[in-house]
Amino acid sequence: MHARPASRIAQMAGLARSCIWIHANSTRVDATSTLDILMLCAVKGTQIAVEIENQKDMDVLNQIIDFFETGFGESQK
């Protein structure tokens, strides 16, 4: 994943009330950090999971999932 989408995800996660985590390649990173997300080395096709700690952050979770499903809102690998 490239820096631009990673920073968009971090921005979205930044709006959450509690911690948000992204899991990939058997590591868990803080979704609010662009650099952390980049460190996942998640290439196209990598399975990822998003974890929230607070039910109230469901909307943020959905937003992030949307973002992934729409191909980062743009053509991006």
Partner: protein, 591 residues
């Protein structure tokens, strides 16, 4: 260190490359960015320090926002990068951890940021993916931006210094040196680095005045202090008084005029007034030095020191490793010749476990060819690599520290063994290469007539010859002043060696520092030496000297010179005869 009443401080170091420069100091830390100070803070200061950091980040972000607004929106690539950077300013990995470091380590914001950013960079550096690896640059740029707003100053980076300054650094690696924009740097001084260090090689290749190994420059110099760097004399003067400044301004003007004249002539042939052509060659240690050697007008490599690879690896290199290095060098130099000197160190420097007995006098111990003959596999490996490279380019083989005829016979046996092994292994090599010996032990000079029967050439190594002949360790400051190339005993030994070579009809080279000092040139020409190898930076000066000498006059004055009894008599004679063409005599300018 010497401090005068006016506050002028003089620190003596080692001459890196010759020349003088006067200018303002610019301190750099090891990374080549601004000097970042580390200082502890008290518990009470923590929150204030964190605020200072937050303010710096927000100032940097505001600056960035302004840049983004002003940017041409059609250049999307640029915008993309800038927006990514915007996100990184408050990224937890940088922002959050820096704040953590300030409070847990109780250190200033600059140091905390530097520490955190280096850790993040290390992590990205380890990733294989080239895109992610390149994010190191983003981290760098964001860090730099925050750092400069912490400094409250303009951006300062080695790559964009906009005034002509003198760099003051701990050390300067080849990589760092390559970032320097030379037209912006007048000279540089370092605390570390000795005569044989990497830094000194860098200094020579940069061709700007430098002094190394100062030890205390980083703590004694402040940014913007006025500095005088006397690279010829190995001296740094901080905040000079008016008299000193005036004196050096004058020398600088003279030196520059002189140097400009020399550089114009650096590609003229090294020929005496009466038409005797000399071959000026370069002494080098690294393949990288070839470029500077050629720039200075060297034709051949008269001495390639091979110790570096051994010391760098801290083990004995394999035949292939050696072969690759030698091959690279001879290909670069082709069709000109490269004289490769075999290993010239005490073995325990390569492998500390090798030596069982502590040597009280290493320079009189198991070194160079003695070590090689005792450790034949090491020697044969190197000889094989040299013979293989000789199939590709023009190589001469030089054996150091020979002190008697028996050693040459043993060397030839080892050479025979190397040839035999290469034949067995069906490797491509060339056994017909000239074999020479260093004349650097007094017994070799005395026995030169017999040694000449066994070899193809001599190479006089004056550094050791003088040291052994006069029993002077020139690194010992108490006796170093007695180390004199123009000592009549030294001249006699050189003459014996030259006469023996002439009688046997073999080639003779001088490759010690003596060959690089213009004052010695009339005598060397007088003795009939026509092959001189030296540090390449000395070539222009020596060439200039040669072009002003008449070899017949030099030869006819030899009888008189060889009859003189003291160093002073000889020096005075030369200065008197050649005062019009010698550079800067009496100003301590050993260039």
């Amino acid at each position: 260190m010497n401090v005068s009443v006016s506050g002028q401080i003089s620190i003596r170091g080692i001459s890196g490359s010759p020349g003088i420069c006067i200018g303002k100091a610019y301190l750099v830390d090891k990374e080549g960015v601004n000097l970042i100070k580390r200082y502890p803070i008290s518990d009470a200061q923590i929150s204030k320090e964190i605020d200072r950091f937050k303010q710096a980040v927000s100032k940097a972000k505001n600056d960035y926002a302004r840049i983004i607004e002003s940017i041409d929106k059609t250049i999307e690539d640029n915008l993309d990068i800038l927006e990514t950077h915007m996100a990184l300013f408050e990224d937890k990995m940088l922002y959050g951890r820096t704040i953590e470091a300030i409070s847990t380590d109780k250190i200033n914001a600059e140091w905390a940021l530097r520490k955190v950013s280096r850790r993040a960079k290390d992590m990205f550096q380890q990733i294989d993916d080239p895109y992610l690896k390149a994010r190191v640059n983003d981290i760098d740029q964001v860090t730099d931006k925050i750092m400069s707003s912490l400094f409250g100053a303009e951006d300062k980076k080695i790559s964009d210094i906009n005034k002509r300054v003198i760099l003051v650094a701990q050390d300067l690696s080849p990589a760092e040196a390559s970032q320097i924009q030379l037209e912006r740097i007048k000279g540089f001084v370092t605390d570390r680095g000795g005569k044989d260090s990497h830094t000194s090689i860098v200094a020579k290749s940069l061709k700007i005045p430098s002094v190394l190994g100062l030890g205390k420059a980083m703590v004694s110099v402040k940014n913007d202090d006025i500095l005088i760097v006397d690279g010829s004399d190995g001296l740094l003067i901080i905040n000079p008084d008016e008299d000193t400044l005036f004196q050096y301004e004058e020398r600088l003007t003279k030196f520059e005029a002189y140097r400009a004249g020399l550089e114009r002539e650096s590609h003229l042939p090294a020929v005496t007034k009466d038409g005797v052509v000399l071959n000026l060659m370069a002494n080098i240690e690294l393949v990288e030095e070839v470029v500077a050697a050629k720039d200075y007008g060297a034709k051949d490599i008269g001495l390639f020191r091979t110790e570096f690879l051994y010391l760098d690896l801290r083990r004995f290199p394999t035949e292939d490793e050696l072969f690759c290095k030698y091959k690279e060098l001879v290909e670069l130099m082709s069709p000109h010749s490269v004289t490769i000197r075999t290993l010239d160190i005490n073995g325990d420097k390569v492998n500390p476990y090798l030596s069982i007995v502590e040597e009280a006098n290493p320079s009189l111990g198991l070194r160079a060819v003695r070590f090689c003959l005792e450790n034949e596999p090491v020697f044969v490996t190197q000889l094989k690599a040299i013979l293989r490279a000789a199939a590709i380019g023009n190589i001469k083989l030089l054996i150091p520290m020979i002190s008697c005829v028996e050693e040459i016979i043993q060397v030839k046996q080892a050479l025979g063994k190397a040839i035999h092994e290469l034949e067995q292994e069906k490797k491509f090599f060339n056994k017909d290469i000239p074999l020479g010996v260093m004349i650097e032990v007094p017994s070799a000079a005395i026995m030169a007539d017999h040694l000449a029967e066994h070899v193809d050439f001599f190479s006089i190594g004056t550094n050791d010859l003088i040291q052994y002949a006069l029993a002077i360790d020139r690194r010992n400051p108490q006796v170093a002043h007695l180390y004199q190339a123009l000592n009549p005993a030294v001249l006699r030994m050189i003459k014996m060696t030259c006469d023996a070579a002439k009688k046997q009809g073999i080639d003779i080279v001088m490759c010690g520092e003596m060959a690089g000092d213009p004052i010695n040139i009339p005598i060397l020409i007088g003795l009939g030496l026509t092959h001189l190898s030296m540090n390449s930076a000395s070539i222009p000066l020596v060439k200039n000297m040669i072009r002003n000498i008449d070899s017949r006059t030099a030869e006819s004055s030899m009888e008189k010179i060889m009859g003189l009894k003291t160093v002073k008599e000889i020096t005075d004679y030369i200065i008197n005869e050649y005062k019009d063409i010698l550079p800067f005599q009496g100003t301590n300018e050993s260039l």
